[in-house]
Symmetry: D4
Subunit: 241 residues, 8 copies
Amino acid sequence: MNASQPPELPVDNAEGLTLARLDIGREARCGAPEAVFAQGKTPEDTLAIAARLAEKQGHALVTRANPETMRLLRERWPDLRAAAHAGTALVGDIPPGGAEGGWVAIAAAGTSDLPVAEEAAMTLASLGVESRIIADIGVAGLHRLLAQVDTLRRAAVVIAVAGMEGALPSVLSGLMAVPIIAVPTSVGYGAHLGGLTALLGMLGSCSPGISVVNIDNGFGAAVAAARIVNNGKRLAERREP
Amino acid sequence: MNASQPPELPVDNAEGLTLARLDIGREARCGAPEAVFAQGKTPEDTLAIAARLAEKQGHALVTRANPETMRLLRERWPDLRAAAHAGTALVGDIPPGGAEGGWVAIAAAGTSDLPVAEEAAMTLASLGVESRIIADIGVAGLHRLLAQVDTLRRAAVVIAVAGMEGALPSVLSGLMAVPIIAVPTSVGYGAHLGGLTALLGMLGSCSPGISVVNIDNGFGAAVAAARIVNNGKRLAERREP
Amino acid sequence: MNASQPPELPVDNAEGLTLARLDIGREARCGAPEAVFAQGKTPEDTLAIAARLAEKQGHALVTRANPETMRLLRERWPDLRAAAHAGTALVGDIPPGGAEGGWVAIAAAGTSDLPVAEEAAMTLASLGVESRIIADIGVAGLHRLLAQVDTLRRAAVVIAVAGMEGALPSVLSGLMAVPIIAVPTSVGYGAHLGGLTALLGMLGSCSPGISVVNIDNGFGAAVAAARIVNNGKRLAERREP
Amino acid sequence: MNASQPPELPVDNAEGLTLARLDIGREARCGAPEAVFAQGKTPEDTLAIAARLAEKQGHALVTRANPETMRLLRERWPDLRAAAHAGTALVGDIPPGGAEGGWVAIAAAGTSDLPVAEEAAMTLASLGVESRIIADIGVAGLHRLLAQVDTLRRAAVVIAVAGMEGALPSVLSGLMAVPIIAVPTSVGYGAHLGGLTALLGMLGSCSPGISVVNIDNGFGAAVAAARIVNNGKRLAERREP
Amino acid sequence: MNASQPPELPVDNAEGLTLARLDIGREARCGAPEAVFAQGKTPEDTLAIAARLAEKQGHALVTRANPETMRLLRERWPDLRAAAHAGTALVGDIPPGGAEGGWVAIAAAGTSDLPVAEEAAMTLASLGVESRIIADIGVAGLHRLLAQVDTLRRAAVVIAVAGMEGALPSVLSGLMAVPIIAVPTSVGYGAHLGGLTALLGMLGSCSPGISVVNIDNGFGAAVAAARIVNNGKRLAERREP
Amino acid sequence: MNASQPPELPVDNAEGLTLARLDIGREARCGAPEAVFAQGKTPEDTLAIAARLAEKQGHALVTRANPETMRLLRERWPDLRAAAHAGTALVGDIPPGGAEGGWVAIAAAGTSDLPVAEEAAMTLASLGVESRIIADIGVAGLHRLLAQVDTLRRAAVVIAVAGMEGALPSVLSGLMAVPIIAVPTSVGYGAHLGGLTALLGMLGSCSPGISVVNIDNGFGAAVAAARIVNNGKRLAERREP
Amino acid sequence: MNASQPPELPVDNAEGLTLARLDIGREARCGAPEAVFAQGKTPEDTLAIAARLAEKQGHALVTRANPETMRLLRERWPDLRAAAHAGTALVGDIPPGGAEGGWVAIAAAGTSDLPVAEEAAMTLASLGVESRIIADIGVAGLHRLLAQVDTLRRAAVVIAVAGMEGALPSVLSGLMAVPIIAVPTSVGYGAHLGGLTALLGMLGSCSPGISVVNIDNGFGAAVAAARIVNNGKRLAERREP
Amino acid sequence: MNASQPPELPVDNAEGLTLARLDIGREARCGAPEAVFAQGKTPEDTLAIAARLAEKQGHALVTRANPETMRLLRERWPDLRAAAHAGTALVGDIPPGGAEGGWVAIAAAGTSDLPVAEEAAMTLASLGVESRIIADIGVAGLHRLLAQVDTLRRAAVVIAVAGMEGALPSVLSGLMAVPIIAVPTSVGYGAHLGGLTALLGMLGSCSPGISVVNIDNGFGAAVAAARIVNNGKRLAERREP
């Protein structure tokens, strides 16, 4: 073949095009195994990819599954761990966690923010990191928020999930020195702009120490939090005799 | 002149075009006298309009004056009342207020929000309504905010001025039953979008009972607050024997 | 438990996650009882929350209910008060109002703005505040608008509901001294941007004295109006011997 | 020269690049002679182009000239016709107009809209079309607007110039059957978005019969209005015996 | 009733709220009768309003009707005039037009722009103005466009309908002196932003003499064009002996 | 017919309006035959246009066909060449390509970008240009990307397809001197803004040498790439003895 | 004083309004002392606040100082530590750091991103956290980036600073398991939208594990990074015997 | 040094931070030598970098230089080649071009687009590619555009530079089969949005075969065009015996 000659044209190769090449070495490289983002995939494709991941990695995390996909996943793996509202499922053996790096608090402002909080909690479980959801502590009901401050201060990381004006992380950040990862949600009405209002509010917070992930991205917040916890674990281990 | 014949063409008639026709009857009709918005006007035009308003109404409010205009106003009216950072001046006899409708609390989140708070305070003074600025109570320093809640609850209206993520009115609204008018300010950096972030956050507040005026519009918030105070005054008077 | 140990992980706890913790003390604190925002909730969840609220508060307001939820609500509470186009229902004993603080005029520009006006009217009823909808007075038919000015001037607050270019509050504000709360609606076509055009127009009004709530937010406008009416009532009562 | 050979490279040829090739045949083709848009041009270039246009066409219109350019224009043509606030000048013999097609009313909402109104008036004069500016008839002062309705109804076209929420053309369009061309201006504060708020409001008007030109584009509105007037003139002439 | 007493509360008055008050005097005042905008109305409401309008005005125009509504309209008025792709129907006696003011050319860039062109044509018919659609003359096929220039020059007004980059009116405006009303359409893919790209392109055209209506607003363009034609007619009549 | 008389009014002429006038001469003029953009067309219309194009040109390309249209196309032309995920089909005799101008590499960042890559590959096939899809080489898995650099360097053009942050072309451009055409896709979640994020990122690339087509526009990228290949072919041919 | 009586009106109290109330207890509460954001403050105010902070805290960090303010700071504190391009200065005794929590790598894509990187480095120094800037490793020069991967992997946190398309954190995140905080900068031209393009690209990264702060917000990234380092330090200390 | 120990902190190292590390190997890798983007750099830094580049590469291209920098460049290199309006200068020996790959036509719509066209021409010269600017062929003056079509067809690539609605490339693309790279410019007024209107219009062109670079990015368009020309040259050379 000379330089300008094209290789064969792989058009309409349904199998090759539909199933992603799995990146099995990813965990070693980046600290997080590959997950299956089910949105936009057929239930069949989702199951097939999950099965292959579980075989290679021992477990597989599926996010953004619709109810039909969730039903099929339950049929195939009756004992999976699932957060139905979030469309998240964890298949296979859950990796054992460890308290050395601490645990993650997931603060959710309102009821509608819970699916995103659940996605974060399930992702953390799949990464062997412990977490706890602390719900309904939006800034309009300050007494409920203040009642949870002591608990939140004990976490290694706080993931703060909020829609609407997204003020929760600002208030939390002024009350504690824990790293805070803010997750804007697409919850809201009127000019919430699909979550952009909360996103911009979190980025523009008057309180430094907050970093932000994309709208509804509970998965990404969990991976970022796990990196922090693992960093702490690494340091803690290094100090042990 | 027949129907299709145009009247004389008033092009380049500097006087007629520069000076607005004054709307002296406005106070009787809308409850607020006309004010002079100095931005974009020459200092000379501003002085001329202020003088004519003061002559007709007994006093005149000038907003958004630059330092040079402020200097000229002080020269002309040495005893004017001025808020220099806000570029606001009140010329002439300040109308007497009255406690019947209550007073207005102007809550400002940060130092940079003060010029807008001052513009509101001066406008209220020009309308005969008493007010008090309560500064530096942003949500990132919750202890300072909570220390002022009892004071704020005694006001007839709270004007809440905040930039950045604009979370102040949300928190206040959950703590009191007073009408709250939110004013977003253009204070911020990064993706604050000239105040749009705060504006959207206030509109999308998770806490009902808030209404919002335009960015940096301390003047508009004051006129809206004065209408509420005057409404209360009208009701209070009606009940008197 | 030491500081870094997490409490139990409450993942997939359907009951706890779906049903919001009710904030029963809210009325005393903020002057408005909690309402049920039905959008995004299942009919069953909506009914359950409404029942619990009605039991605690004596009544419950449901907003943004879809037809199926409305049907179920009527089955359960045959004598509820409902505004079908708005998807709003008021369950239980309507709290008695009082004329001391005045009543609220709800001005609607066009036919399509009526559901939002209805949401405001029902919310006011749930708060014990009297109101009246005055429809079809958009600025393109100025004679109909002018015919209602005397009525509007007698209200304690005017809620002005309009879509498209949102010019109604500007025109009203120049004609009366009553506090005006503007509600932009998502009614329009072409570059109406889901109501942003009306929202921006209302914020940028050439006529001071207007404050604005979020797009289609009849509920929020009503709570803000009720705060003003109650403020007047408080003042009126204080004056009584 | 064969097909792939490039002609000489005309880089840094200051004369050819700075001075536009004049389109002298334009008037015959499009009904409007070429004008000089001075913004972004040096005063010297502006004068040179104006001189060449005036020589060819008998007159030349200059728009968006800064004060320095205006000064030089007056030096060179002491008897030019100028609208100083608008930075517009008309050099040479003004073409005679005619009443056959009617005249153009230029309605301006506020004082700050006058420079744009003046630009339109001068452009119409350069096209031989008569016009009249009717100022200070914004919708917040409805009585002043209504006092001008009879005059406006006699025009062949109404150009409605307004900033802020841009509601003037909506109100006018409901009161008359004359063609209305709306010009949004960049006047405003807060979220006026450089005139986008007024532009969107005018496009989304609840009142049909309005068409819109770009922000601050008094020149474009005038050319569009002149086309309408000339169309009427053509029809009127055709009917004459 | 004293001043603060509210009139009866008209909540949930389905009839009054659903059916708009008809504005029968509109034609005399604004030159265009009221039309029925069917989008967002039930077929039954649309039929009822159309029937009442036809009774009062002799005819009724319905725009944006979905297929079901179109079917019902045809059942009720078997001889109506309809443009099925546009969802537009004209019920009753079509008003007689007249050649005095000229006719309207409706230029459409592509096949997908035709429903908007049809809406304009039907609206013009309902106003007694003659029109002709000239299709498929987008700027990417310049030879087809140039072949129609002579025809377009004979019209009294050109309505230029185009999606995507919206360049059609710019090119036409450089070729003729006829008034041009541009209609951007929501046709396109990628970053066409629902028609905003075409809208902005038309507003920012390098060729003066164009005015623009809202996205997909064939109805509004037709009303604006009819005003121009009627203006010419008025002038033509005035000249007749 | 005199100048102001309109031709007959072609309203509701379903055939003429639905079927585009085919532009058969296009290939000679622009180097690419006309294609059928099926989105928004009925399956029947799509088939009819495809049949007419295939008859005139020997083949026809259909893009953005939905599953039902794909099914009908297969029924009619059982031996068509199809890329099912992309909704693209090539009917008739595929034009013979040639290696003189080189081949096109289509680099796709992720699995979800493959339908757009397929659309490009099918379009190139319809234009007689050879291509090869190289998938799953997003920048987060740099080792997979680097493994393909040598192959990509041998192509005449690289089409780089990516969603999310759209970083693929930046990285490729720094590694090779081949012309790169970037295609942003609407793949992503959160603030991906329907592909605008990727589009803006590609336009703002820190690496020069990239040009960009519209979101998801695999068709347009292929036509642009074919022009480059054909340009090379023309040059290569010119040099042959 | 009864409930409706206002306290004195503090208008134009220059001292109280200009100087923020210092929040000296902040470090204990949130882990970061208060800093002076000099932008928008006069040099004199900046100096005064810095002096008071340095007196209370032992040191003070000034950010976004213009050259004049920098000159005055140097005059007053000749031995301050300064990053002139960033307008950042550290006055007083720098708090001692410690290696227990690790150090922070600040990766900068291009030369223009360095001032933001410097702001982060100075902020970290003021917090007693060690850091190192690694410059010029943008994705268009992949060989320079890859040469630094081993160094970056040793850090406790990576702050990745980039403008334009903001692709640097995506590439880094795929190569290491360290927590990554991305800082978009306002560097770029064309449609970079003041840094929004980079911001959106970072949020939409195809690589999980990244969290983002506001545009040009080197200060905020540093505070967030310091929280992570301190969290690790806390864990490391807890493990020590 | 153990893993968690940071290297020295390079804060305020003015030299290292200001001068970019030069990427001298770039030409071999990417086909284009490094250039100096002068905007945001001091004149002194620009000169220093240009001198170092010229020493290594034999020549250096400087873009976006302000007048003061241009003056200093001319002082230092009296025989440089400069395009003053564009702020572009070419220092040192211009590399010899060759006709094998063809030449580039740079079509500019209006006078204000010329600086961007010049930047492209100078960049091409620095890359050894011949070019010709063809000015003032905007779509509003179609006769001038059509007169240049034969010349444009002979080019290997057309760079089409246009502001306002950006329609030039659409019209050109329908008239020729040459690859077209479109450059939107920030020229315009009103809602041109700093060039976004032209950018969106070019991306959404109805005519395939166009690819687009960022606003005002004459440099990027030239590099992309040079890659195409060089690709042709490579093919032409390969064919030679």
